[in-house]
Symmetry: C2
Subunit: 232 residues, 2 copies
């Protein structure tokens, strides 16, 4: 139990990945946090990732710049597209929302795998979640399992040592309320996190995009007050 | 037969991917070429990719910058590491060579998948090859198959349309000699390609790294003269 084990933690600065990092740390993993700068329309997200990593004791925190906006195809990376507000079908999960970024989690996990291989780490944590919101295909358990199978064929480490990569998805079936309660029990300071797709110039959250609405619903469900500032 | 079909072609500027592009074009695919700048120690490679794409009639050619050197772990991306020359076990395939870049093909294919999804393309061509050189785990057919399964779970397009992504590996079982003969029959100008891991300042190939030696062996096998310039 005393041997130090390590994990790569994909950290966005949002509520979900902050909670996932706290869970990884509570399970005894030293956390090597990996964040991306990917043509986001705002830098509040990367600042939040830094603060969260620091507050939860990251061993190391790397930012990798990737240019998904080169391909276009998402309201999140395309400067001209409009972020949807107050959508009626937020919870339906039947339509893939315009904020979906093509192959994003595939790319994120691929970089995590590369770093894991270099460090000799076999555990990767990612904050995918389907309970509240199943609109993103690359958040589903069947995708994660397929990535895990692929990872165990892709790498020198897996081939040589027969060690197995494992993609941990500890919050995949939790509601936002459950995630928040879990995080609070582990000491996550949610005032450091950021969820809004469309913050104002001062970095305040809009309160109306899908991400804000899920966050606010989660805090309501948990019977708590969201500690961040909203614009409206 | 007249309907235009399109494919993403991963293009490095080397001999293998140039041949793969020619094969895709000969099968009637419009080629959307994708190349990477990934902390390579030389830019000869990217210049070759440009020339090859142009000479074989690419519909579009995108370069994506990715920073694999941030993670280290390979002689190809680590400025301090030495490129092995005249290795004895070149052909053994039992050891993973120091020029292996962690998770490289996983990352390359993930970007190809992202662009394919944005363009509504379902065919991806990659020049992996195991006949001459099986040292890289992410060149094997079982890895490619696993990636294909994962891709068909990762994307909105696959989930919504039930269209299937296919990763084409037309040269996976060819020897270097067979690849060159195939390319010549399709009009590939190999003087535009570049293979050397360690070219000199004028861009001339070293002739002694694994990549040069495989290339030279391939031309010998094909009974042809390599049209590029060597330093030594």
């Amino acid at each position: 139990m005393n041997q130090k084990k390590n994990a790569i933690v994909l950290l966005s600065g949002g509520l979900d990945s902050a909670t996932v990092m706290a869970i990884a740390a509570s399970e005894g993993y030293g956390c090597y946090c990996l964040s991306f700068k990917y043509g986001q329309r705002h830098s509040v997200e990367t600042e939040s990732a830094k603060r969260v990593a620091q507050s939860l004791g990251a061993v190391e925190h790397k930012f990798v710049g990737i240019d998904l906006s080169a391909f276009g195809g998402s309201a999140l990376t395309d400067g001209a597209a409009e972020i949807p507000k107050d959508r009626v079908d937020l919870q339906s999960g039947e339509n893939i929302p315009p904020t979906y970024v093509p192959a994003r989690n595939t790319i994120f996990l691929s970089y995590a795998l590369a770093w894991a291989e270099v460090l000799g780490i076999f555990d990767i944590f990612i904050g995918v979640n389907t309970a509240d919101y199943s609109g993103y295909p690359d958040c589903r358990a069947e995708f994660i399992s397929a990535f895990e199978v692929m990872a165990n064929l892709a790498t020198a480490a897996a081939v040589q040592n027969e060690a197995k990569y494992r993609i941990h998805t500890p919050i995949i079936e939790m509601t936002k309320g459950q995630i928040i309660r879990k995080g609070v029990s582990l000491g996550v300071d949610y005032s450091l996190t950021h969820s809004c797709y469309d913050p104002d110039k001062r970095g305040r959250s809009c309160g109306h995009c899908d991400s804000c609405r899920l966050r606010l619903k989660g805090f309501a469900e948990a019977g708590m007050q969201d500690p961040i500032e909203y614009a409206g």
